[in-house]
């Protein structure tokens, strides 16, 4: 579904990606692992259009998207839940969700999807009218994911959903992510520091190191791999 081929990307004079190649099959969960500064978030940014690659191509469902603007890419079916959530802090939960559906015009569908989000995250239902900035970290993450879903994406890019969250909450969220993938057939590209959890729900994994793909394998193999365990799982 998504094919990234030999992508190089830079922030001004600083090179962040040095030829990243990876693939995401439709319907799967693929995880990007790696240490800080490896280029994981950058990879997501390049897919969603926030950053344009200097060379290389990105194809989504057969069509090149590497030169498109983020607004356009959203309408093609890719939704990016950025690092640190990037909520609209002064808008309410409901307003954040509504904005997530900005590109859509089917009122009933939007209503249904909001209900769906509340189904996944009941706490958000309770806090509908609350201003997003006042939510707890876990709630904010839930809202961010919910907002990302509102665009009815076929590919969901998740950037470190576990960042700053308590372990229990993280588990909950990861279960929900798995559920979203399973029930709604949303393909997921998941960037994570928490390799353990990520590999549990993903089918495939890529390990990035200083802007390159160092390892690519099924998550089962990665979990078993000695080097991955030592470097990223801590044992």
């Amino acid at each position: 579904m998504l094919r990234i081929t030999d992508v190089h990307a830079a922030y001004g004079p600083i090179l962040a990606l040095h030829g990243v190649t990876l693939e995401v099959a439709a319907g799967s969960i693929v995880t990007l692992l790696g240490p800080n500064g490896a280029g994981k978030s950058t990879t997501l940014r390049v897919v969603s259009g926030l950053l344009h690659p200097t060379t290389g191509t990105i194809e989504f469902e057969g069509r090149r998207i590497d030169r498109l603007a983020p607004e356009r890419i959203v309408s093609l079916g890719i939704s990016h839940v950025p690092e640190n959530r990037q909520l609209f802090a002064e808008l309410t939960v409901l307003e954040n969700l509504r904005l997530g559906a900005y590109i859509r015009h089917d009122r009933n569908g939007i209503k249904e999807d909001i209900e769906q989000v509340f189904h996944y995250f009941p706490i958000l239902n309770e806090r509908q009218k609350q201003v997003a900035g006042t939510l707890s970290g876990g709630e904010q993450q839930m809202l961010a994911i919910g907002r990302g879903l509102m665009a009815r994406p076929r590919l969901l890019l998740l950037d470190e959903p576990s960042l700053g969250l308590a372990p229990l909450v993280t588990r909950e969220i990861f279960q929900i992510i798995k559920s979203i993938n399973h029930k709604q057939k949303v393909t997921i590209l998941l960037v994570e520091q928490n390799a353990n959890l990520a590999l549990e729900i993903a089918q495939h994994g890529y390990v990035l190191e200083t802007g390159r793909v160092a390892l690519a394998d099924t998550s089962a193999n990665l979990q078993r791999s000695e080097s991955v365990r030592r470097s990223y799982l801590g044992y």
């Binding site: 922030y11 940014r45 950053l51 344009h52």
Partner: protein
């Protein structure tokens, strides 16, 4: 092996500059036939050079506050007024010699600046800008109202000081005032340069870039912010005193709001957080109105109101083409390498709306003033800056 060559070139440039400033400007008109106008500086041009030196002083001070320390001031006219009136009152009402009034005016204004800086600690960005604007607006009104001290609307007419006896006959009045302003401007430039390179200057920049981080590093933010106001006001006060000497007259009308806004424009156009920028800005400010004269000569349609339109249009053009001011532009020029040239072209194309877009940046604006000046070490920031994102 390269060093002696570079050093020699710098020395040469320096010598040329000194020659230009100390000899060519004031004395070139004495030698008719030494090249066409405008290479010869008649007394009007010398006077213009004098005003440039004067404005450079206040521009330096304002740049320290706004460019290096990040506090926007739209009210520097008030400080110049304090300095000017202090000098004028001392000279006129109390018979002080002119040279004594300059430092006194400076310190007096510096104190006022400090007093303004204290409440300013509470304000940032547009709030500070408007509060200082309020200061600028109130200044003429206050000057008019308290005429016991300020002689009200008639102003104070001091006579410009004549050349001292030892130089009498060597310099005429215009040249003498030129040297006076020039020397003081040079002294103030050296002071500013030293401040910028000192602990104080670094503290200023640290505070501008992130108050919280500066505080965490042990920098006393209130202390340095008020210091910035005080120093900046000191410069403005000196400028005011020099103004009195050069123009020979002060009145409330000399310090209207427009002046204050012009000071800020000068500093931004010249280049924030740049000593060179302050001087270039002052020069541009004095010389740009000359364009109208030029247009006249070329018989271009320039109705009476064209000056304002030309001024406005040139401001806009300069800011579009040189967002970091004249100094920033020069800096880029002197550092051009092929990849940077390409990047500059891409930047320019983007700026005028062609399809080479990268994401619109949303950088943390801090207290809302200066850009990352070209000279400082560039902290790499993703142009599509997620606020507070770590790199992964």
């Amino acid at each position: 092996m390269l060093r002696p060559i570079i050093a020699r070139r710098k020395l040469l440039a320096f010598a040329l500059l000194a020659f230009f400033l100390f000899y060519w400007i004031p004395f070139s008109h004495v030698f008719p036939g030494w090249g066409p106008f405008p290479l010869q500086f008649g007394s009007y041009r010398v006077f213009q050079a004098t005003t440039i030196a004067m404005w450079a002083i206040v521009a330096l001070g304002l740049n320290l506050l706004t460019g290096y320390n990040g506090q926007i001031s739209l009210g520097h006219g008030a400080f110049v007024a304090v300095g000017g009136y202090t000098a004028a009152i001392l000279m006129f009402d109390h018979g002080w010699p002119f040279w004594a009034t300059i430092p006194v005016a400076g310190f007096m204004t510096g104190t006022v600046g400090f007093l303004v800086g204290v409440p300013a600690l509470r304000l940032t960005g547009p709030y500070l800008a408007i509060a200082t604007l309020a200061l600028a607006i109130s200044t003429p009104q206050i000057l008019l109202k308290y005429e016991g001290l300020t002689h009200g609307s008639q102003g104070i007419n001091v006579n410009s000081p004549p050349p001292p006896a030892v130089l009498d006959g060597v310099l005429n009045q215009t040249q003498w005032l030129y040297f006076l302003a020039l020397v003081i401007a040079i002294i103030m430039t050296i002071i500013a340069w030293n401040i910028v390179r000192s602990r104080v200057g670094r503290a200023f920049v640290a505070i501008r870039d992130s108050e919280i981080a500066a505080q965490a590093m042990g920098i006393s933010v209130p202390r340095f912010k008020t210091m910035a106001f005080a120093i900046s006001a000191f410069f403005a006060g000196v400028c005011g005193a020099v103004y009195v000497q050069v123009i020979g007259f002060v009145s409330p009308r000399s310090f209207d709001v427009l002046q204050s806004i012009n000071y800020l424009t000068t500093v931004v156009v010249g280049g924030l957080a740049s000593i060179l920028g302050s001087i270039l800005g002052a020069a541009a400010f004095v010389l740009v109105p000359e364009i109208n004269g030029l247009l006249d000569q070329l018989h271009l349609p320039a109705a009476n109101q064209a000056p304002g339109v030309i001024y406005g249009a040139s401001l806009i053009l300069v800011m579009i083409l040189m967002p970091y001011g004249l100094a920033g532009f020069i800096h880029r020029l002197t550092r051009l390498q092929p990849p940077l040239v390409r990047q500059s072209l891409i930047d320019f194309a983007q700026q005028i709306g062609l399809r080479v877009r990268t994401a619109r940046s949303a950088p943390d604006r801090g207290s809302g003033a200066a850009p990352t000046p070209p000279k400082d070490v560039r902290t790499p920031r993703p142009p599509d800056g997620d606020k507070g994102s770590s790199s992964s």
